[in-house]
Symmetry: C2
Subunit: 417 residues, 2 copies
């Protein structure tokens, strides 16, 4: 069977399973998720053996240490994956919720209820925990899922999916609802991106390169996730200690994630007090600063920022710094260079806070808090399938509801138009 035919076969199978999945009861889904969690923990040696093969292969290739770290599983991480599945079981089921209802003058009763999307495609990179997290959230929301992980994690993913499938199907989840693309060929992704007849949505999770490839080549609807060039603007009236705390937290608490700050903007009237204090803490944190000309006049040992810096997601202990004239210049800079993820202002001016929240174009706009809070759990959704940086369908952290669509049910007694 050729690659194309094999992929279409998976699509067909997932599609058939999706029809059955849509009416599986919450009880069955929850029981399956708990069994899937148990299966991972009880068979952790199978997963760890497979993961060792992946790690050995990656080491031979000489990949970066941070890459190995993302790929590596241990008992604790497997327990974390199992917990994720149990959390999905504990969340309320969005399927069947009614979010609009009316009776029309002609007597038609119209209800709009939540239904699963159908078949969700997830394309991701090295982290094998995405395999079980994504499968769990798709199953809970009544979807079938086709997972395409990175080639480097293929052994781990096969082991995880094998265990999840066995436990799920034994618990009443329709066979075919969980699929892994086992071919690590890049061509498999290209086929997947054109499978409109079988896939309702593709969610890419990974670096900017992966996301760009998917957005540019997919005819299946895509939800763009996860690139974050996030800003913090320290206004004239900011509490300087609070601003330093927020900036240091936004940059250094976990620099590799998408809600970490990449560029700090500071009002010219606050810069002289704020920047030296920031620079001192950042030096301790071993964070490199790259400043504009005006900021380097205040902290001369900053490197010079280039135009490219303003649109770079470092994902690392590097921060670009720019002095601006006022909140309007800050907003203009952000709307020009940001990726629509998370932006913050530190201020005591109610007026500027309001302007900033209204005019900044992003999924999450903060007053006096760290951008690091943009996260499904922190927002109260219990879990997330990713953070959408586009405006269609879902924006910001996507909980279970983002994995559903709606359907109008109309009841009449013979109405014609």
């Amino acid at each position: 069977m050729g690659l194309q035919e094999m992929m279409l076969e998976k699509g067909r199978a997932a599609n058939i399973a999706a029809d059955a999945m849509a009416i599986v009861s919450t009880k069955v889904k929850n029981e399956a998720l708990n069994k899937m969690a148990d299966a991972l923990e009880e068979n952790s040696t199978i997963i760890l053996d497979a993961n060792k093969a992946d790690i050995d292969a990656a080491r031979k290739k000489g990949v970066k240490k941070s890459y190995i770290d993302r790929l590596m599983l241990d008992e604790k991480r497997i327990a974390g994956m199992a917990d994720g599945l149990r959390q999905a079981a504990a969340l309320p089921d969005p399927v069947g919720e009614e979010d609009y209802g009316t009776m029309r003058p002609n007597g038609l009763e119209i209800r709009r209820i939540r239904v699963p999307l159908g078949v969700v495609g997830i394309i991701y990179e090295a982290r094998p925990n995405v395999t079980s997290d994504a499968a769990g959230l798709c199953i809970k929301s009544g979807n079938a899922v086709i997972l395409r992980g990175g080639s480097e994690a293929i052994n781990s993913n096969k082991a995880i999916i094998g265990l999840l499938q066995e436990a799920a199907y034994a618990s009443g989840i329709p066979e075919g609802a969980i699929q892994l693309v086992e071919v690590t060929d890049r061509e498999a992704v290209q086929v997947m991106l054109r499978m409109n007849q079988y896939l309702d949505v593709i969610i890419p999770r990974g670096g900017a390169g992966l996301i760009k490839t998917v957005v540019e080549n997919s005819s299946v609807p895509v939800i763009e996730t996860g690139t974050g060039v996030c800003h913090t603007f320290v206004d004239e009236s900011a509490d300087i200690s609070m601003a330093v705390n927020i900036a240091v937290n936004a940059k250094t608490s976990r620099p590799s994630v998408c809600n970490a700050m990449e560029t700090l903007l500071v009002h010219k009237a606050a810069a002289r007090e704020f920047l030296p204090r920031l620079a001192a803490v950042m030096k301790d944190k071993e964070c490199e600063l790259r400043g504009c000309q005006r900021s380097r006049e205040i902290v001369p040992d900053m490197l010079m920022a280039s135009e490219e810096d303003w649109s770079t997601e470092y994902g690392d202990l590097i921060l670009s710094v720019k002095v601006v004239d006022d909140v309007n210049e800050a907003i203009a800079h952000i709307n020009r260079y940001n990726t629509g993820h998370s932006e913050a202002i530190v201020t005591n001016s109610l007026k500027n806070a309001r302007i900033f929240q209204r005019r900044v174009n992003a999924a999450a706009v903060y007053i006096n808090a760290s951008t690091r809070f943009t996260d499904g759990c922190e927002f109260g959704f219990g879990a997330e399938i990713g953070i959408s940086t586009q405006k269609l369908h879902a924006r910001g952290p996507m909980g279970l509801t983002a994995l559903t669509s709606t359907k109008y049910l109309i009841d009449g007694d013979g109405q014609i138009r």
Copy 2:
């Protein structure tokens, strides 16, 4: 200026206008919409002269009569366009609505509010009324819009847009918020489909060919609209008179629209009574019937339906007819051949009604009513920008809310993570 550069220029201008549009007050938007309506009516001769040029050119090309009908404007149709704009003014403004709010344990206050999508691209065909309808709904929902109509209507569209722009900009709508692509070259569409940096969504409105081209080639998110292979299933327990009424209405009241029925399915136990009665009325209505073997045994003068008929949107007085064994076969047929638009069951069985509504995969699923009701006004939304047949973002008739996204506003007092 080359085509590419000209399109990008429009995109940039629309993008800048969109930032300003997002905070234009409801009052200003409503006043502008009413002035735009007045401008169309007061200058109807300008529009009619331009439309005459389009009609003459189309006649020279020898296009179909139905095509000329779609293209043709008169005082009544211009009044209809003006009414559409006034209706948009009268609708509630979705921008700023809060649809989720919470306070987290750490004291962060999180609100989710509705914001405009940004820049909406509309690609459509011959009907010049789409130009003002779409512009009106985009303006009301705070978006900038780039319109790309069919080359055959270019003179009409230029005249309409010129009047709308003048009235809108004089009423406080930011310049650049309403743009028409005046180049009728097909290449302009290809450029538009790749303008991710300036366009937030593209909505194609027109025939299956246009929609396919857009879906397959766009890297900008697309909302698929309007193809409808709609079914009516007459169940064993149906009230036969009601079933005939509903079927005749669904097929013949306006055969060219997307919510018209294309295939009728009938339970084998109801076929012998139902089909001859249906055939008699359809004969009077001059509607051609194409039947499966079993239906032709009951009504022998039906033509034989081919496999292709089951997936054809005739848009005309043609109906395919199939006898099925039960509700399950009806559901399987529908889920195989439909386009996810509107489906109906005529039944007295509560059990079958429930199974049908739960298992049929479509935007709107009717019990005992005509599929012709799938429409923004009929559903209580006041107006619609199209009917989405996909599951992402919006499904079914799209009112003003479908032209918005959301944004999280988070207020803190120094929270870090």
